[in-house]
């Protein structure tokens, strides 16, 4: 039974590696840092897989480890992280494919403070449920709801016409 859990964690890591990288990038803002965060996340997940109790929540559990590692990375590298959105998003995309307002929304999301941004990313881009987000962030459900609402309001202020 122990091995089944290990295999579950391994396949969850393999399947979600791109998602992990993207979320890591939203913190690190540059690829080397994001790769570092993913590396530490994978190591920690493999080491502590026995701590996973609810196998159905393996994905939230993995995101939770990543968010912890990302926050730790930010603390460690406070002075080196690009303050502007240099890496986010890559401008050539926007001109090519997203001449519409999507780029604007995206940029506004990336400009949110991390506590709000992560919740928006998990909800709308990774499509986690609210309770999964609660697990992934270690917050309780009401706090997740409040933060999501705050994020909506901030985005609305920034982009007046955004519908919520």
């Amino acid at each position: 039974m122990k091995d089944r859990k290990y295999e579950l964690v391994v396949s969850c890591i393999t399947e979600n590696q791109n998602s992990l990288y993207r979320l890591a990038l939203s913190y690190a803002k540059e690829r080397e840092g994001a790769l570092d965060i993913v590396q530490n996340t994978v190591l920690k997940a493999l080491k502590s897989y026995t701590g996973l109790r609810d196998e159905a929540a393996v994905r939230s559990w993995l995101f939770r480890i990543l968010v912890n590692e990302a926050v730790r990375y930010i603390d460690k590298n406070k002075n080196e992280i690009p303050s502007s959105d240099e890496a986010f998003p890559e401008p050539e995309y926007r001109e090519k494919a997203f001449e519409n307002d999507a780029g604007e929304v995206y940029e506004a999301v990336m400009g949110l403070m991390p506590e709000l941004r992560t919740i928006v990313i998990l909800r709308y881009y990774e499509e986690l449920s609210l309770s999964e987000i609660a697990e992934a962030t270690g917050l309780n459900l009401n706090t997740v709801k409040t933060r999501l609402y705050t994020a909506h309001r901030r985005l609305k202020e920034k982009l007046e016409e955004v519908e919520i």
């Binding site: 190591l43 159905a56 559990w61 939770r64 730790r72 997203f98 999507a102 999301v109 881009y125």
Partner: protein, 299 residues
């Protein structure tokens, strides 16, 4: 314009080529290490088995010593209880994989204050918990299976799915006339879940022990202060841990507040009272069940 509109851009973020090689490499390396760990684990297990044999032997000694004391001091001889497996059941076919070890307390000569009635009641309760749990789990699985096929699922897709049902127990403390027993029921299919029941008994007096009996009138404050201290201590020493209402989560209204007379606990082999919190109750799911040894039981 909606927030979701940014999703494509997010999804199109370029993934560095080295990512998948890095992840694969880490997994491969860990598999090798895990194989080594397994060998160590097996060695430890053998050692544990040897230790277990020793415990059985010690328990025998304790029992006879208690017998001697009981004979000398008390008018009622006996009250020596043993925990036995009354039902051991294993099935691995059809819809279920069942591993069941159901305990019962055997009262050697029905000499407790209620003439064996107390232990019979406890045993009956254990039986009921186990039966109810098994029936519920099976009903749940039947329902799931029915829905699966009703919505067009095929036998091929079903592919012999099984539900795990596990009943097990652990004698946490046993020194006549005190007995602390943990009963675990668990089921696993789409989601895994586990329930634990605790029996802390004075078999001689025929009563269930309360926290107050073991820690005194001030038990609530004693437990709360110690649990709070240990949570803070754990968080300070390991960044991967997390509790609702502490650290980064300080502003949430969930999390540990106080224990009360109904909080689960057991007595460990060192005679310490251990408070138990189910998963999700005071910490996120990945933290699992949380236990805190809060002080010596006054036995």
């Amino acid at each position: 314009m909606r927030i979701e509109d940014g999703k494509n851009i997010y999804g199109d973020i370029e993934i560095p080529k080295e990512l998948s090689a890095m992840v694969d490499g880490l997994i491969k390396k860990d598999r090798r290490k895990k194989a080594e760990r397994k060998v160590i684990f097996m060695i430890k297990r053998c050692a544990a088995a040897a230790a277990a044999a020793l415990v059985v032997f010690t328990a025998g000694l304790n029992t006879s010593q208690a017998f001697a004391e009981g004979a000398a001091e008390l008018p009622v001889i006996g009250a020596i209880a043993r925990v036995l497996t009354v039902r051991s059941y294993h099935q691995d076919e059809g819809d279920y994989k069942i591993d069941m070890e159901v305990p019962a307390i055997e009262d050697s000569n029905s000499a407790d204050a209620s003439g064996g009635e107390f232990t019979s009641l406890v045993n009956a309760e254990i039986e009921k918990i186990v039966d109810d749990y098994t029936n519920e789990a099976k009903a749940e699985f039947e329902e799931y299976k029915e829905a699966f096929f009703a919505t067009g699922g095929t036998e091929e897709e079903w592919a012999g799915r099984q539900m795990d049902i596990i009943v097990d127990y652990d004698v946490k403390y046993q020194k006549s006339p005190i007995l602390s027993l943990e009963l675990t029921t668990a089921k696993g299919w789409v989601a895994a879940s586990e329930e634990r029941h605790y029996y802390n008994l004075n078999v001689l007096e025929g009563k269930e022990l309360k926290l107050e009996d073991l820690l005194g009138d001030d038990y609530i404050n004693i437990c709360n202060a110690e649990i709070d201290r240990q949570i803070k201590d754990q968080l300070a020493n390991d960044e991967s841990l997390s509790y609702f209402g502490y650290g980064d989560n300080e502003l949430t209204d969930a999390g540990f507040r106080t224990i009360d007379e109904n909080t689960d606990f057991y007595i460990n082999s060192d005679g310490q009272v251990v408070i138990v919190f189910p998963e999700y109750s005071i910490a996120p799911g990945y933290m699992g069940w949380r236990e805190f040894a809060v002080g010596e039981a006054k036995l």
